[in-house]
């Protein structure tokens, strides 16, 4: 039986800033096509960990392979094989929808033909036919975030990292956004996502919760609720994060 490909494998991954251990020996694996929720309180070490996994920051110790590439030796290969979106950095506000898509397509090294077909597909999927010539800055936040996600997976990366992609987005658009996530995972793209909405934690196949730099638990939402004898993920999170010593 063929084993499902592991696209993230990290072992005892650690990042120190002077005396402060932001990320403390985290170890876990994520499979191809999995939606993995990476949760934790503000200041638990999520962003630091995510920056290492994207090849943006070198670890202090430990090892990790992302999309099969070594985090120390092949950070450039990693960047080519991952997509990244955050609430803060989305797209160029003073470029149009079309210009943004073409720009990022070019950055990701797609050919003109690929860019043309991808652009068409993306515009239709998002229903943006009448907005292609509008500046991204003039779009509502929800649309920006959907567009931003679609651009982050334009080059069909193996993994897409999403850092609080739905913060401040209305409940309907938040769900449309998750439909895009499900569709990407269905195509085999691994989704690595952080969120402060605990209902969204339920949409993940598995989740980890970080407390004070360490991964405290890692399991399916169902199993975690059983383990903590909790009705909701909100309760699980509350029980765990309340024990945190470190402020954010």
């Amino acid at each position: 039986m063929a084993e499902i490909e592991k696209v993230i494998v990290c072992e005892k991954l650690t990042k120190r800033f002077g005396d402060f251990i932001a990320t403390n020996e985290i170890s876990f694996e994520v499979k191809k096509g999995e939606i993995f929720g990476f949760l934790g309180a503000n200041g638990a070490g999520k962003t630091t960990a995510m920056r290492m996994l994207c090849g943006l920051s070198a670890p202090s110790s430990g090892s990790a392979a992302i999309a099969g590439y070594d985090i120390y030796k092949e950070p450039e290969q990693i960047k080519r094989n991952v997509g990244y979106m955050s609430q803060k950095f989305s797209l160029y506000e003073d470029l149009t929808v079309m210009e943004n898509i073409r720009f990022f397509g070019g950055i990701y090294g797609l050919t003109n033909q690929q860019i043309d077909s991808k652009t068409k597909e993306l515009i239709t999927t998002l229903g943006l036919e009448n907005e292609t010539k509008k500046l991204v800055g003039s779009l509502p936040l929800g649309w920006k975030q959907k567009l931003s996600f679609s651009v982050a997976v334009l080059h069909e990366p193996k993994i897409v990292f999403l850092d609080e992609p739905t913060g401040g987005v209305d409940p309907v658009t938040r769900r449309q956004f998750w439909n895009l996530i499900y569709a990407a995972a269905d195509r085999g793209i691994t989704v690595f996502v952080t969120t402060h909405y605990m209902d969204e934690a339920e949409y993940c196949n598995r989740i980890s919760i970080m407390v004070d730099g360490k991964i405290e638990v890692l399991d399916t939402p169902g199993n975690l609720k059983k383990q903590f004898n909790a009705e909701s993920m909100d309760e699980v999170f509350y029980q765990l994060a309340r024990s945190a010593k470190r402020g954010d």
Partner: protein, 301 residues
């Protein structure tokens, strides 16, 4: 007396091209904890800025403590506290210096109103010599709240104080608000988190510059007109797609580990069979009470 009254207020930008607030009216009673609930871009911040006299309305009138937001702006500025969504304290002053500065500007002292901020201030006091720019998000939020309270305002305006804040800190923040309310301070707070709405006395649901509904959280939930079902199955994505294709579905969407849905004629007798025929298993269907989020989704639909 009412603490806040807003009469048909409108605010546009870009020479009228962008309507941020569109003919909005509501009032807030003295000592009430009033929530303005809506997504980014709904017009919440514009309303806050008009009520705190930082922005002039195009049309309509508003009063705070009986003072007109245009004519009596000086009185309003003396009597309200405002915590903007963006951190706006002096980054290169310490915690202590910021607090003293705001007390002095309002012609008072930290000692005089210490009882109002004590609960919150003790949490950041160990770091009082640290510059505000070097504080973490949660600590900045607590300091900003202290600075907004130090002149003993009658009304407190808090613009998205919990956006981007984790669930545990959010809960703690709302407990602080509850205690302030007990001291008699009127609080108007905005948030994109629907679960926080239920913690307010009354809420206004706002979208696209218009108010969709103003009521107590209980009434908003109780007047949900359709029968709402929670549905669970072994595979969420397939379940959502299948519900969408089911001919009797009026509206369906994911809601945590369940999907929520409403149906034409409230008839779900055939649903179980339909879902199984599409390859789903472990099916559970139950009717449930709506939440604020369900009500909001229905209003947006």
């Amino acid at each position: 007396m009412e603490a806040i009254r807003v009469n048909h207020i409108t605010k546009t930008y870009n020479e009228g091209k962008v309507k941020a607030v569109d003919d909005v009216s509501f009032s807030v009673g003295k000592g009430e904890l009033f929530g303005l609930i809506g997504p980014d871009g709904a017009g919440k911040t514009s309303i806050f800025r008009m009520l705190t006299t930082l922005l002039l309305p195009d049309k309509g009138t508003a009063t705070v403590d009986g003072f007109d937001v245009v004519k009596d702006f000086r009185q309003i500025r003396n009597s309200v506290g405002y915590m903007p969504g963006k951190f706006s304290l002096y980054q290169d002053l310490t915690i202590e210096e910021n607090l003293n500065f705001f007390a002095t500007v309002f012609d008072t002292t930290v000692e005089q109103n210490y009882h109002l901020i004590k609960d919150i201030y003790v949490q950041i006091e160990p770091f009082k010599k640290r510059r505000a720019g070097k504080l973490s998000g949660g600590m900045k939020q607590k300091l900003a709240l202290c600075c907004a309270l130090i002149h003993k305002p009658t009304t407190l305006f808090l613009d998205e104080p919990t956006t981007g804040v984790d669930p545990v800190s959010r809960k703690e923040f709302w407990e602080m608000l509850r205690r302030l309310k007990e001291q008699g301070i009127t609080i108007m707070v905005s948030t994109p988190y629907m679960d926080e709405a239920s913690l307010c006395d009354r809420i206004a649901l706002i979208q696209g510059g218009k108010i969709l509904s103003v009521d107590t959280p209980d009434n908003i939930v109780n007047t949900y007109p359709d029968r709402l079902y929670a549905i669970k199955a072994n595979e969420m994505y397939l379940l959502l797609k299948t519900l969408e294709s089911y001919p009797d579905t009026s509206n369906s969407y994911a809601f945590g580990e369940y999907a929520h849905a409403t149906f034409k004629n409230n008839d779900v007798s055939e649903l179980d069979n339909y879902l199984s025929s599409k390859g789903l298993s472990g099916i559970e269907i139950k009717d449930i009470e709506a939440t604020i989020e369900d009500s909001f989704i229905r209003l947006l639909h």
